[in-house]
Symmetry: C2
Subunit: 215 residues, 2 copies
């Protein structure tokens, strides 16, 4: 975040947390379980939604999504093509979704027709960490192409997360990324975090990941 007056920052976080709690109650009242997806641009957050929707559907579970981006609707359009209800949340200049933007999204979605809601945050590994949105779990998606030092550069993100996804594992040998180093770094910051190695282009690891999300 930017360097701002600490008292004001505390007020912003407290206000956001209250709204996030209201979102959680709103979701629960409609029987919706929500999951927050965090990670850098191109890590595979949208691909995760694309892969999970048909698996959910085959299990008789109805999906929905909020696509968060600074600008544009590239991710939103990909999600719309999966056939689920979706809302495009553009932040304008902000580097993260906040509970207020998500509240808007909830009012635009048919919550009674949704069982599982994915909330895809802005592609950024720093700012989203501080802002709870009202989701049940945080799924942190990283890609082997980001370099195997990516975890060590973002301890707060992994401390705040519930499930870790190391994606694009097929490209690790081409990049020279050591997946074991990535896992070891995650364990150092969050020893109990379940870690999944996936290729979300092919779907490798998707079923196991979805089981952990729904657990």
């Amino acid at each position: 975040m930017h360097q701002i007056d600490l008292h004001m920052e505390k007020d912003i976080f407290e206000g956001n947390t209250r709204l996030a709690e209201a979102n959680a109650r709103h979701l629960k009242a409609h029987g919706v379980r929500a999951f927050d997806l965090l990670g850098a641009i191109g890590s595979g957050k949208t691909a995760l939604i694309e892969k999970m929707i048909p698996i959910l559907s085959a299990r008789g579970i109805r999906g929905g999504a909020i696509a968060g981006d600074v600008y544009g609707d590239d991710d939103f359009q990909r999600i719309v093509r999966t056939g689920i209800p979706a809302y495009n949340a553009n932040t304008g200049k902000e580097c993260h979704l906040d509970a207020h933007l998500v509240e808007h999204g909830l009012h635009h979605l048919p919550l009674d027709d949704i069982d599982i809601l994915f909330i895809e945050n802005v592609g950024n590994m720093v700012c989203p960490t501080d802002f709870q949105l009202g989701a049940e779990k945080r799924i942190i998606v990283i890609s082997s192409t980001e370099g195997d030092d990516v975890v060590n550069k973002h301890p707060m993100m992994f401390r705040s997360g519930d499930i870790a996804v190391i994606n694009k594992v097929d490209l690790a040998p081409l990049i020279g990324s050591d997946l074991d180093r990535m896992e070891a770094d995650i364990r150092r910051y969050n020893p109990m975090m379940p870690i999944f190695r996936t290729n979300l282009k092919t779907g490798e690891g998707s079923e196991e990941l979805l089981d952990a999300i729904l657990a």
Copy 2:
């Protein structure tokens, strides 16, 4: 950036711009040309420095660097191994370098022994855009692995930049990224921006890129 009081935000930006201008004067007084590197985690900002230093050295030009990260010294250690003077700027929680952090860095570097200073920002495509640091040009580094919609998601970054680098071009076919789309999107936001396609692992495109940086 986070949603904060607009008046305060204006004060922060104006204060930062004054410090950036002071940094620019400080650099000029020591005969140093500085270049800001912006881009996501893993786009290749550190790799760019690693590739440029030997080429600069062969041309009799002395390099230096400031490595900006939220946490840790992974990038800093890679830069140190190139043999140039370097300073590790950890932001703690902040998502971007600001002119004040760079000012600190300048006081820790032997500026009279440096001709070209690379200032590597935190890996993030949103927040660094707003903060001038005192550098001569902004080099925006993106990777084909981030997906070919990465430019369209970050128009402000490309509007604010001077040189665009599309890196890891060898991986584009594996990811299914359309490099022509990326270039077309850059041209839409910044028609005059020079664009280079590189593979900074092998050095492909490095000499041409350096010529443009020094132009």
